[in-house]
């Protein structure tokens, strides 16, 4: 029988350490307390961070227990419940922006459309609910990759599938895009999935601040973007406000 896995033992020790005292520790403090090399401790912390068990404070660089760990077992939000709780705000977003609205969650490396509100122009449109879309090429998918450690962990290494000339193709490029998304709090996809189409999306947070889905609008690039091909600021505000309103109703703390 194989013996215990050393890195898991060490990870458990780090979690125990973070669960004590002030709960905020720097890399050297953690490495010193457990008698680990800095590189070893850093590798373990990075993995714990990826699965959401540990978070790193952006300003101080200190580590603490992650929200996913605090809500282990209660973090799951039924997608049908997400739709029910978001429906009012999704409608209002469509009416305000004049564009179609979708809500998506992560499902096995793909973006699952769980809600869809038609563009309010009464033209013939078909419900997309249940459709699976690529994560790295959509605004909603990128939001989930940026904030949902589970989703990020499911992205395969190596080259990414291209849907248009503008699709992000490498994990390196993707990593850079995701940190930009975390900085501003929203994501865009300008002709990355379909030529002529653009989308804007923001995270929906649930209890404890955990990201449970993404909400966004999409439409023709000339309506969604300004002449410089950047998403229009007013639309970005509508999307972020709507996602925040849903988050507030789901019990997320204000952020």
């Amino acid at each position: 029988m194989p013996g215990p896995v050393q890195s898991i033992e060490r990870a458990a020790a780090i979690l125990r350490l973070l669960a004590q005292g002030s709960g905020r520790l720097g890399l050297s403090e953690i490495a010193n307390s457990l008698g680990l090399a800095r590189g070893t401790a850093h590798g373990i912390l990075r993995t714990l961070q990826m699965v959401g068990f540990v978070e790193q404070d952006e300003a101080t660089g200190k580590y603490q227990l992650g929200a996913a760990l605090l809500h282990l077992g209660t973090s799951y939000l039924d997608v049908n419940e997400l739709r029910s709780r978001a429906i009012n705000w999704a409608d209002a977003l469509a009416a305000r922006s004049g564009e179609a609205v979708r809500i998506g969650t992560h499902l096995q490396g793909k973006l699952l459309v769980v809600h869809h509100v038609f563009r309010p122009d009464d033209t013939l449109q078909t419900l997309d609910v249940g459709m699976l879309l690529p994560m790295h090429a959509t605004a909603m998918g990128k939001v989930l990759l940026a904030y949902d450690a589970n989703a990020a962990a499911a992205v395969p290494e190596g080259d990414l599938e291209a849907f248009s000339r503008r699709t992000i193709r490498t994990t390196k490029e993707l990593t850079r895009a995701l940190s930009g998304i975390r900085e501003v709090g929203w994501a865009a996809d300008v002709e990355e999935t379909t030529v002529g189409e653009a989308s804007v999306a923001a995270p929906i947070r649930g209890y404890g601040g955990l990201v449970v889905g993404a909400m966004g609008i999409s439409g023709p690039v000339e309506r969604v973007c300004d002449p410089h091909n950047r998403p229009r600021a007013d639309l970005v505000t509508f999307v972020r406000d709507a996602a925040r309103a849903v988050s507030r109703d789901l019990g997320a703390p204000r952020w």
């Binding site: 039924d78 997608v79 049908n80 419940e81 739709r83 029910s84 429906i87 009012n88 705000w89 409608d91 209002a92 469509a94 009416a95 305000r96 869809h116 509100v117 038609f118 309010p120 122009d121 009464d122 449109q125 419900l127 609910v129 249940g130």
Partner: protein, 504 residues
């Protein structure tokens, strides 16, 4: 200060909601609170009207705060309410004399049967357009007067007032014992069994028939008109509309033309068809009711197919059986299987309403075998809503001589895609949801906004309507026919369950 919003209050069976809408009819903020359901005996359902008032005291300011608004920015408030639910309160203290008796309550079934045996009973339907049933307010008022010592004398002196929820809230908002307005609107009054459907006023013959003193009744007013100014909760705001929730939804869906219809899926579900300025009589189990009345304009009538239990069955699945944690989870559970496995649930919890009107029926689950799982039961719960819709649509088609071409839907259950698809499948017509699922609230806001000139006319409101989702029928016709037949056989098995001596 600029009047930027219209407020709605939706006082429903399970909760009270307060919503602010902007000029585009778009939702700006929403606050909601559930109230307690009291089930003191089998068949009895009660609410505490004071609890509901306190809930409003909380959510009104909360909805304003969420939008960063103050009452001065609110052009008017409109109220939509659960209909028929009966509140009796003391005019001098403002305290309800009993718990409110909810429309689902069947305590009056013996009384109703007794009244129906009277030789002059035929007059009721003729004068008010409704069936003699436990569902409506008059038998409840009578029952409370008969069973509460001294109440009849107080009611005759005008010391005790009757109202449905909108009357109660308007009276409280406009000052209560200190000069509160005791009013109701035509749509709510049309659900009491006491209002003459042609003259739109309290009818002495009906008051006599039920033994209800006129002194306790509110004044009947149009649905959109300023009734007074709030002195509490949103001081200074005009109260400018009241409609029964189902009529409010008809208005919110902008069904302003003859032949336009909608179905609202909440605790129960209600299909209403605009029939214009003439009350139309049903020969297929539908009710004649008032749709709305704008100020001094003539009233618009509607035919109604009332289904008592739809969302409430989902709630029973959650609270009564504990098989799901939240209502929307029913869809997740239902999707674990492909069909109902031969199982059907007929939720005749308060008897069956339209088109059967069988108060002695009670609910059943049929087709149980050891094959049936939680998933099949969840399917049967959702399918019950689909087939009940089919029954009232069939009745509506037969009465109007027209075939419904699309079904406009709204309400909380429209978030359920599996259910909406099933309804399209069993009706064999497209099902369309508008961009505001909270159509009840929107209708109350529209009526209030019209009354105070915040919106100029009906045409402007119509332009705010947009399609948010559509489900197209895709069921094999043979399967549809077979399943409908099974459903109808299941329904027959609920009949004649309660025997007269059972409840003595």
């Amino acid at each position: 200060m600029a009047e930027r919003y219209v407020m709605s209050i939706d006082q429903g069976t399970t909760s009270t909601r307060c919503i602010l809408f902007d000029h585009g009819g778009r939702l700006v903020s929403v606050a909601q609170r559930e109230h307690k359901q009291h089930f003191p005996r089998p068949g009895w359902v009660e609410h505490d009207a004071t609890e509901i008032w306190r809930n409003l005291e909380q959510i009104g300011p909360k909805a304003l705060a969420q939008a960063g608004a103050d009452p001065g920015q609110v052009a008017a408030v409109g109220i939509a309410n659960q209909r028929e639910t009966t509140v009796l309160w003391d005019r001098h203290t403002g305290v309800p004399v009993t718990r409110a008796v909810v429309w689902q309550d069947t305590r009056t079934d013996m009384l109703v049967e007794e009244l129906a045996r009277r030789p002059d009973a035929y007059i009721v339907e003729e004068l008010c357009g409704l069936h003699l049933a436990t569902y409506f307010s008059a038998p409840t008022i009578r029952w409370l007067l008969d069973h509460t010592p001294g109440l009849r004398e107080r009611a005759e002196r005008g010391d005790v007032l009757f109202g449905t929820m909108e009357s109660w809230l308007i009276w409280k908002l406009t000052g209560g014992p200190e000069g509160g307005a005791h009013v109701t609107d035509v749509t709510n009054a049309s659900r009491t069994l006491l209002m003459n459907i042609y003259s739109l006023s309290w009818d002495d013959t009906l008051l006599d028939f039920f033994g209800v003193p006129r002194a306790m009744l509110p004044e009947i007013r149009p649905s959109a008109e300023t009734y007074g100014v709030a002195t509490r909760v949103m001081p200074g705001v005009r109260i400018a509309a009241a409609l029964g929730d189902q009529q409010a939804a008809l208005f919110g869906q902008t069904c302003f033309a003859v032949g336009e219809a909608k179905c609202t899926y909440g605790t129960g579900s209600f299909l209403l068809l605009n029939t214009g300025h003439e009350p139309v009589r049903s020969t297929h189990g539908l009710l004649t009711t008032v749709g709305y009345q704008i100020g001094a304009e003539p009233a618009v009538y509607a035919l109604e197919g009332s289904i008592a239990i739809t969302g409430a069955l989902v709630q029973w699945f959650r609270d009564g059986l504990g098989l799901i944690g939240t209502a929307p989870e029913i869809e997740t559970v239902a999707r674990t299987v492909d069909d109902n496995g031969g199982c059907y649930i007929v939720p005749a919890f308060s008897g069956l309403f339209a088109p059967h009107w069988r108060s002695e029926a009670r609910g059943i689950i049929v087709g149980l075998t050891s094959y049936i799982t939680r998933g099949h039961l969840a399917r049967a719960v959702l399918e019950a809503t689909g087939w009940q819709t089919r029954e009232v649509v069939d009745a509506m088609n037969a009465d109007s001589g027209l075939n419904l071409r699309t079904l406009n839907v709204d309400g909380g259950m429209t978030a359920n895609n599996l259910l909406m698809q099933f309804i399209a499948d069993v009706l064999n017509v497209p099902v369309v949801r508008p961009m505001v699922a909270e159509t009840v609230s929107l209708g109350a806001a529209y009526a209030a906004g019209l009354a105070v000139g915040y919106w100029p006319d009906l045409e402007g409101l119509r332009r705010n309507w947009h399609r948010a989702a559509q489900w197209l029928p895709a069921m094999d016709p043979e399967l549809r026919a077979r399943e409908y037949d099974n459903w109808q056989r299941a329904v027959e098995r609920t009949f004649d369950w309660i025997k007269p001596h059972d409840e003595e």
